[in-house]
């Protein structure tokens, strides 16, 4: 088991995070959100495939403000997880691992994902 004397400090609210840490924790946060959304997504797939009525009812779901907010949050989660994931895969093969590049790509991922989400939401609304 773990060495109990090892210092462990994981209180995210008290840690001041550089851009790379921010991209990383948002990757985890968005992943957890997507995990919780999985049954919802499967349910939508089932609804769309099982009957014509179900298929047609999906568009109506977006009338609800709660659903809209949820979908926007999940859209951001997916976009951030997608781009931050690509960044991590590149880091795995040692692409962009210098401190300056890693920080720049972390900022690009964090702000780029937010921007893309806002643009998509703006176009769709």
């Amino acid at each position: 088991m773990l060495d109990k004397r090892r210092p462990v400090f994981l209180n995210l609210l008290q840690i001041r995070m550089p851009a790379t840490a921010m991209a990383s924790i948002l990757h985890r946060f968005s992943g957890v959100l997507l995990f919780f959304a999985l049954p919802g997504f499967i349910y939508l797939l089932q609804l769309s495939l099982n009957s014509e009525r179900g298929f047609d009812s999906i568009a109506g779901l977006f009338d609800s403000l709660v659903i809209r907010v949820l979908v926007i949050g999940l859209l951001w989660s997916l976009i951030h997880h997608f781009f931050a994931g690509i960044r991590f895969l590149l880091l795995d093969v040692e692409a962009g691992i210098s401190k300056t590049t890693a920080r720049a790509t972390a900022r690009l991922v964090t702000f780029g994902s937010l921007l893309i989400t806002i643009v998509i939401v703006g176009v769709c609304l």
């Binding site: 994981l10 992943g31 957890v32 995990f35 999985l38 495939l49 099982n50 014509e52 994931g85 895969l89």
Partner: protein
């Protein structure tokens, strides 16, 4: 639980599934956009094409494997009591396997019990 669920193998599973998920997330929206589906009948027919169904089956298989490693990592970071950790990991495994069975029913049998 040894094998593809722990250690370096888990790390590798997370990366390999990630690559498939990335490719799917690009290719599937583009495919559906090009096919321009606007009715239930079209959607149903498209999803009945074997290649399409298998692409989705593999997507969810990868998704469940990917979620296993990711959520497992979070649990390991925050749940330190060994027994509690084991119980939560077991619940997670049960939950993910249930979701996988459910979505396979939806994709392959055209049903999923409810609705």
């Amino acid at each position: 639980m040894k094998g593809v669920t722990t250690g370096l193998n888990a790390w590798l599973l997370q990366r390999l599934t990630a690559v498939y998920l990335l490719l799917f997330m690009v290719a599937m929206p583009v495919t559906l956009f090009v096919l321009d589906i606007d009715s239930y009948a079209e959607w149903k027919n498209v999803m009945a094409v074997p290649v399409m169904a298998m692409t989705w089956v593999l997507f969810f298989a990868c998704m469940i494997g990917h979620a296993w490693v990711g959520i497992r990592d979070v649990i390991i970071d925050y749940v330190h009591a060994f027994r509690m950790r084991l119980v939560i990991l077991a619940l997670l495994a049960f939950w993910l396997i249930s979701l996988l069975i459910w979505v396979m029913q939806v994709l392959l049998l055209g049903s999923g019990g409810i609705a």
